[in-house]
């Protein structure tokens, strides 16, 4: 693929159709600016601010935009909240739909057949491969992103975090916890 992609870039650049510097800027954006820290900020804010959490439930696109996170593959956001009895898991069985504006580029496994095929049918089996074991009484809700809505899971706030602020809480929010293949870290797990 290396040579094939280089040839493609060469041809398109010779024709004046693409700007190699634009490609550098796109890569830099997703390597340094747009990533799961954005989503972690949204989650941590929702944990400490009930009004913000309510806004997220009603109009996630606007609530997330208020923190400065907008754009490609985040145009139509929905936030889904884990509760004591329901765990949410997001997948795109048809392609690789993913909320780029809050989570950045998707990991390879999210786009690969094993996850896309099994998340809807065998979510507990999938979760076990992420070392997540939920109580048998927890109901699992799988969201297949088949349209243009992009889902952000709001994990449950870990215990023992009452005195933490948004900045501290953000470090407990992993990318996987916002897809549903993980849980937010406990403060003790974070320190390990």
């Amino acid at each position: 693929m290396e040579a094939r992609v280089r040839a493609l870039e060469t041809v398109l650049t010779q024709k004046g159709l693409i700007d190699p510097a634009a490609i550098d800027a796109i890569v830099e954006t997703y390597e340094t600016k747009v990533g799961p820290r954005n989503g972690a900020h949204v989650v941590a804010r929702a944990w400490v601010d009930a009004d913000f959490a309510d806004w997220l439930k009603r109009d996630a696109t606007a609530a997330i935009a208020s923190l400065g996170f907008t754009g490609r593959q985040g145009e139509h956001m929905r936030a889904v909240f884990n509760t004591g009895d329901t765990h949410n898991l997001v997948v795109c069985t048809l392609c690789s739909c993913y909320p780029w504006s809050v989570l950045g580029l998707p990991p390879v496994w999210y786009k690969a057949p094993a996850y896309r095929s099994r998340a809807v049918m065998d979510p507990r089996g999938v979760l076990a491969e992420f070392d997540v074991v939920l109580p048998e009484t927890t109901k699992i809700r799988v969201w297949d992103s088949t349209a243009e809505l992009r889902y952000l899971v709001i994990p449950q706030r870990p215990e023992g975090t009452d005195d933490m602020d948004v900045e501290q809480l953000m470090h407990l929010v992993t990318r996987d916890s916002m897809i549903g293949t993980g849980l937010a870290l406990s403060p003790s797990a974070r320190q390990k």
Binding site: G16, I23, R72, L94
Partner: protein
């Protein structure tokens, strides 16, 4: 189309195998593939629906063995030829020989931040009121079109409950094929696991899809 992309419920792919501390890119060419794909999307010559369909049309043996960036590049080559930007032989040779079509836009470095921050909203107003309402039971259609569609096979001919009316959006089945945006209402429809997977379904499992109105019938 019932293509290789429609993976929900297929078996045999093995464990998910998440990679610890996965890097954003696994090779330099993946960075270029991302940037080239987004730059060409900015031409305004094809929609996201047409590009998704081009990916679905990759031969199943190639689709299932390719990484996702390879899927993007294979589909992009098809789109560039279809829209007269670059022929397959030019790309194979790595040298421009023919005059390209004129794109609506060329993404230059100075515009990248604004273009990425703006995105491409797909919601469009429709004149009619939604046919279905929250809490209503609906059945998904049992159709197997040869064209692009966003109703997965596992969720066809299944009874579910409308959980939300999400707004009206460009209809991909038409838009992928240059037949116009023809927006429709989109609903989140939630199915009991047993309705989809039968008696062997995990207890307590529910699965939802986001379905355009014409994918649904009243029960």
């Amino acid at each position: 189309m019932n293509g290789p992309h429609d993976l929900g419920g297929q078996m045999g792919f093995g464990p998910v195998s998440p990679e610890a501390n996965e890097p954003y890119f696994h090779a330099e060419w993946e960075k270029r593939a991302l940037g080239i794909t987004l730059s060409c999307g900015a031409f305004g010559a094809w929609s996201i629906d047409e590009s998704r369909h081009a990916r679905e049309c990759i031969h199943p043996a190639n689709y299932l063995s390719a990484s996702y960036y390879e899927i993007w590049i294979r589909a992009l080559e098809v789109l560039l030829e279809r829209h007269d930007f670059a022929s397959r032989s030019e790309v194979a040779e790595g040298h421009a020989r023919m005059q390209a079509a004129q794109p609506k836009r060329i993404l230059t470095a100075d515009k990248v931040a604004a273009v990425l921050a703006k995105g491409g909203p797909c919601d469009r107003p429709v004149e009619s009121a939604p046919l279905f309402s929250v809490g209503q039971r609906v059945r998904t259609i049992n159709e197997h079109p040869a064209h692009h569609t966003r109703l997965p096979r596992y969720a066809r001919d299944k009874v579910g409950i409308v959980e939300a009316v999400q707004g009206s959006f460009v209809f991909p089945d038409d838009n992928a094929h240059g037949k116009g945006e023809n927006p429709q209402w989109v609903y989140t429809v939630v199915f009991d696991g047993q309705e989809i997977w039968g008696m062997g379904s995990e207890p307590g499992l529910t699965v939802s899809v986001d379905a355009w109105e014409s994918y649904l019938e009243p029960v």
